[in-house]
Amino acid sequence: MNGDQGPSFLTLLFAAGSCAGAIAVVLSRNVVRMAFWLIVSLGSVAGLFFLLHADFVGATQLLIYVGGTVVLLIFGVMLTASGPLLKIPTSPAETFLSAGIGALFLAMIVSTVGAVDWKAAAETIARQDPAAGPPVSGEGYNAPEEGNTLRPIGAALLGVRPDRDLGREPGPNGSIALSTGYLLPFEIASVHLLVVLIGAAYLARAKRRRDRDSGESI
């Protein structure tokens, strides 16, 4: 909520890093270099998350995205791209078309971001939902700048919301309607991950193909 002094140097640095990484991913032809620029972009986005006081999300971004997903993609590059297949050219017409459409779409989003009065929109949300507020206030040992979202996120994944319900004014009959947490989506995500694990291992396993002519399995 510090609107006046403008973005800090680190904010600008990480914003420029993420944008430049993303543009370099689009522009580079070599798929290995694309993976490298993707690491730059995702790492800068993790820095932006830390600057937004979202320490747990930033750490998860570094661990799962940069440490897991990109490594998975690099394994995919290693297993599929051999020699001449490393670079597959795109026709100039397609490049021109998608660059034009992308520029138009970007112009639309930028004009929308500039046109909306975000402060008034935030005040409208705050009026409609009295329990909502800035992310974390008062709980935990640290100041928000040093990261204290871990406990509220853990509690929300267990289904209780101390970040919204603690310290609220009771209603007319002296009771507080508790906010909802994320226990069911958490469970669904865990079962989904299990299914994905089994499915990916089944799909990617080495198959024994039978050669039709000689009858030998290869």
Binding site: G6, I88, D129
Partner: protein, 101 residues
């Protein structure tokens, strides 16, 4: 320009780069990287709204779910890409036109 708009612009650039990556790359892995960029652009918006508006912690939790589901999606898509490579001996997505009829 306040900080929320800066973050929204970063999210917009990531999203548009991801869409351009998905449409122009013929390498299947490159298409996957475009998907990751799109999901990251959405995540930047979620966390920025969680910081600067009354959305609160919900934005951060939704972005956590997005990260987890993106990892799952990458694993399955990579398995599919490996199968595609086994069958076609290339990763060019333009060659996957066997259902063309």
């Amino acid at each position: 320009m306040n900080e929320l708009q800066l973050y929204l612009l970063v999210g917009a650039v990531l999203f548009v780069c991801g869409v351009a990556c998905m449409t122009t790359k013929r390498n299947g892995i490159g298409v996957l990287m475009g998907v990751e960029l799109v999901l990251n652009g959405a995540n930047v918006n979620f966390v920025a709204f969680s910081r600067y508006t009354a959305l609160g912690l919900d934005g951060q939790i939704v972005s956590l779910f997005v990260i987890v589901l993106a990892a799952a999606e990458a694993a399955v898509a990579l398995a599919i890409a490996l199968n595609f490579y086994n069958n076609h001996l290339t990763i060019d997505v333009d060659r996957g036109d066997q259902l063309k009829g």
